[in-house]
Amino acid sequence: MCNAGCGIMVRTVMGRAKKVEGNPAHPVNGGGVCALGQAAVHQLYHPERLKLPLLRSGPRGTNAFKEVSWPDALARLADNMKKAEGGASYAVVSNPHDAVTVIASKTLKKMGSDNLAVQGLSAVEGRRLAAASALHFPDMAKAGCVLMLGSDVFAGEAAAHYGDRFGRMRRGNESKRGMMIYAGTRLSLTAASADRFVAAKEGSLGVLALAVAREYVSLLKGRGTVNPKTAAWEKALAGNADASSKTGVPEDAIKKIARDLYEHGPSAVIAGDDLTAHTNGAQALAAADFLNSILRETADDKDGVWPPAEKLSGYETIRKSTGVPEKFAPLGPLLASAANGKMKLGLIIDSDPVQALPAGLNARKALEATGFVAVFGCFLNDTTRYADLVLPDHQFLEAWSAQAAVTPHGTPFFNAQQPVVRPLYGTMQSGDAILKAATMAGFGIGVDTQEALLLGMVGDLRRNLEGVPPALDGKKAWEHVLQRGFAVASAKPSSAPGGSAKNPEAPRVDDPLFTGLAPDDFFLHPYTAANIGDGRVSNISWLLEMPEPMTSVKWGSWVEINPKTAARLGIADGDVLKVETKFGSAEAPACIYPGIGPDTIAMPVGFGHLDFGKHARGRGANVMSIVGDVEGKGFDYTAFRSVKATVTKTGKRMELIREGNPKGDYEGEVFQL
């Protein structure tokens, strides 16, 4: 469902999964589970799950299938694998750390291709995977002040993790309360919990980071903190005088941020989508890193905000032993080459690129031009419309699996997962299916089942896991890990460079570019809502009925618009708006939302599925379908906030389903909070 790798336990009664509970010992979530995780049992018993392999029986784009047997389906897949030998195959997965990703990666390599891509890989995540630096893993829980640069961590993946760390930061210790400052373009769920919200212009957070850094350095100097690099930093940051006008943040607000970072230390910066999802995202991220490096070097870090380098090195060890790929193919070029008809086989594993990727990436065209598309998943969705073969996967509660990843605060871990219920239907684990077909096609990687692969993994890994007695053999070690559900990678002295030991180089942040129709268009701000995440779970009624925390809207998508802007344009709550960009248009009801700037509109992602069961089909508008292709530089990510849109009233009305009363939520003083 998500890539965070939370440790969960499932309460079962008479062989039926009843309730998902967090594993209190797990380094990611520490016992908590987010709403999405809770809904796993709902997904398991979802009435619309696929039960048998499906072979396309109509034209592509219709979801017309007939059921076939597993041997038949696997034979077809194997056939097409043979045909696609060489570089003509690719795979898209959703979770970069998962066992099935390892299998896909190994099989593709065997087939002579390295076209393995991850759907929805954000710049932060990409950077984290490639990280060798502790700069990307500050631990919020230990920080005295944390500056969130547009990172809506509570609504995104690993919400449970950040929730846990946030709770500890705020009130882990009653006497010392950590402070959170949120700078961003929209009052996101995370911003709502921040002690201070600083509204910045769209795409200007990199500049803000540099401006804060500059103020911070001048504070250092003014208060006499001696650091050998101060002069170098000062020099590097000298050219950022017009930050206030570029970011829209007043000069004294910037100073106040710097002062808070200085006074409440140890401090850290956590960067997020608001920062990176623009054309200058890579530079902005470098700017944030720069600020982080200053904070780290000047912090009195006895609490351990910054993980030691050797701790992080454990990740490299488990990555290597498990075979988790180090690098993934960039989606843009991959899909472009597929669209040019260069690909004969596409494996889409547990992902929905047609729905979830920006329209500019043309995932639909790529699939249409691919010779044979096999989709692995539990449900029919937008992507299966273009599939030749749909192979029903086990829901993860029925499956064996493992993940090797690193928590956002830098603890590398290995998750071991066993089925909690017997499979309900005649489904097959995607990993097993790929392995079987690959073996038939002659691309076997030496193991027959995913379970065997996992045993093999642990065989290599066991000496690198904490708490696993070295005497145990592979099988025993696996069982040992299964009992706890996870094991933390043991730290080893490593020569890997920790932090930015190099001399600071002034990062440069260009002005963001926007594709728009007219100069006074609105910035379009697609974001992930906390209730249905990125849309992989938008067929789950529990989550659809859960109100999105900020707007309290449920069962549908919306366009957030500032109250004053709405008044100016004569838009009332519930008026259906047509949002038009260069890439297309979408219609959704207006939601008057005070937490958004007057020049911006925001829409949640994950809605507007063309096909994803009765709850998701046609519900709301898919904002990604109108988002474009201004490619970011430096990492594999899409600058999906670089689009401007026009807003027009359609004249239709559609009352938003809200939990709270839009007027009443301003009357909180009744409670005398």
Binding site: E659, G660, K663, G664, D665
Partner: protein, 499 residues
């Protein structure tokens, strides 16, 4: 003899008012009607007897049925059937077919309940008050008022049943001995309410029945042999003969019952008010609610009595019995109630407005924002009633009186709606604020209830005497004309010795 056969003289005051609307038909005319319509064919009334006109008039609604009546009854029955079907649908599907939603758990079922309970008030209060004060103009009004009480209370008592979620478990609310420790909670205002309503219903039925007893005996005697009514009339009359002894006990009992009912009625509406004010919900939790409800009930009830009296006049041609003077007197009573009611409005709104309690004030604001038209009808209705009823012309015009009294009751219905709904939609917890619109089913049931009330009345008028013959006769017995100088005045004998 001649003197008695002659149609009664109009009262002095009445003549001043322009006289009755219908001229008393002569004996010949009566015979003509009888022959023409066959209405009196079976009816064993000797038209040559003294005061035969009274028997004729009071019993003709029972025995004389027009086609229009059947059409009307059929129409009412179909509305009732539709309402009942809607109720059945609600039971089958669940309460959700009503427009209720948290935190609005009570909707128009409860406001309609309060309305009907309120309407039931004046019947007995007016009747027993007039009995106790020996107001002689009371006599033709009694039966109609008492029946109104009984029927509106019957309709009202349906609403708690319609309203509850599990009607099939309604016996949990009664103190029925059982093995499962299921017992009602007497600390709940709803338990008081149920108790009060059932006591009131019992008492008002007894009150109505006691009053009916001599008239049922009369109808029994005058009912022609072989008529299907004979049987139940015989049973219901309990063998009443009208011996001196029976009359004596009857008089005593009437007085005692009047006292009892007079003590029960205000307590009932106070308790209905406590259903609201015993809660901690701002806007309901006010001490004024008890008297406020009682006064409102009498106000709407007297209006109901007036409307019904006028309807009886029109439908059954009872202009000779329910005369304009009766309407005139009732209208005076209603004027007093209207003024009192206006005072209560003033007190209620003034405190909410001036004290500016945030929650109450918000409810008040919301009322004006969301239901301005209803507020205007409600407040304007009372203002108009006071204004209009102050005029002699209006008080003596049945047509205008009918309009005003119906308007008053529309206003009172709105008032009940505005008591129940805005308070719930705008509670302490601002996050839960929401809106309420009655659903089709709720409206159907409410309209069905109105039709049911009218149907009960219509059926009643065919089964039992709708006018109190014995009381009118008694009035005639103790009435005499006295000549003072050049003027003849009607006087009433008070045979009981004053202290």
């Amino acid at each position: 003899m001649d003197e008695q056969e002659r149609p009664p003289q109009h009262q002095e005051g009445e003549r001043r008012m322009g006289g009755p609307r219908t001229e008393m038909p002569s004996l010949e005319e009566l015979r003509g009607i009888a022959a023409r319509k066959g209405q009196l064919k079976g009816l064993d009334i000797d038209l040559t007897m003294p005061e035969a006109w009274l028997n004729q008039y009071s019993l003709s609604p029972m025995f004389y049925t027009t086609r229009a009546y059947f059409v009307f009854t059929l129409a009412l029955s179909s509305v009732v059937a539709w309402g009942a079907a809607c109720w059945g649908y609600q039971i089958y599907v669940g309460m959700g077919v009503a427009g209720l939603r948290p935190p609005i758990f009570w909707g128009i079922y409860i406001s309609t309940f309060v309305f009907w309970v309120g309407l039931s008030h004046s019947g007995t209060i007016v009747s027993s008050l007039l009995r106790l004060t020996k107001a002689n103009w009371r006599r033709p009004v009694l039966r109609g008022a008492e029946a109104m009480t009984a029927f509106s209370l019957m309709v009202a008592s349906l609403f708690p049943l319609i309203h509850i979620g599990r009607i099939w478990r309604v016996y949990y609310m009664f103190p029925l001995p059982n093995q499962r420790f299921l017992w009602p909670n007497y600390r709940s205002p709803l338990a008081w309410d149920m108790l009060a309503i059932s006591v009131y219903l019992t008492a008002s039925m007894i009150f109505l029945y006691t009053g009916l007893l001599p008239d049922v005996a009369l109808a029994r005697d005058l009912c022609p042999r072989g008529n299907w009514r004979k049987k139940y009339l015989t049973v219901l009359s309990l063998g009443w003969r009208g011996t001196h002894r029976q009359w004596h006990v009857y008089e005593k009992a009437s007085t005692l019952l009047a006292v009892g009912v007079l003590l029960i009625a205000p307590s009932v509406h106070t308790i209905v008010a406590w259903d609201f004010s015993m809660s901690i919900t701002p806007g309901w939790h006010t001490t004024i609610f008890g008297p406020y409800f009682v006064v409102g009930a009498i106000y709407s009830g007297v209006a109901g009595v007036i409307s019904l009296m006028i309807l009886l006049r029109w439908i059954f041609g009872l202009g000779q019995i329910i005369r304009t003077v009766h309407l005139y007197n009732l209208a005076k009573l209603e004027l007093v109630m209207a003024v009192t009611w206006a005072y209560f409005y003033f007190v209620e709104f003034m405190t909410a407005w001036y004290a500016h309690n945030p929650v109450e004030f918000r409810i008040w604001e919301y009322q004006w924002e969301r239901f301005p038209h209803l507020m205007i009808v409600m407040l304007g209705g009372t203002a108009l009633a006071i204004l209009m009823l102050s005029f002699h012309k209006v008080r003596t015009s049945p047509r205008l009186l009918f309009l005003i009294t119906v308007l008053i009751n529309v206003g009172m219905y709105i008032e009940r709606y505005l008591i129940v709904i805005p308070v719930l939609t705008h509670r302490d917890n601002a996050y839960t604020w929401t809106d309420y619109t009655p659903s089709f089913v709720e409206i159907s049931v409410a309209v069905g209830a109105l039709a049911f009330f009218l149907l009960l009345y219509a059926v009643f008028s065919k089964l039992l005497p709708v006018v109190t013959v014995a009381d009118i006769r008694e009035g005639k017995i103790i009435t005499g004309d006295v000549r003072i100088g050049n003027r003849e005045v009607r006087v009433y004998a008070d045979v009981e010795e004053p202290l």
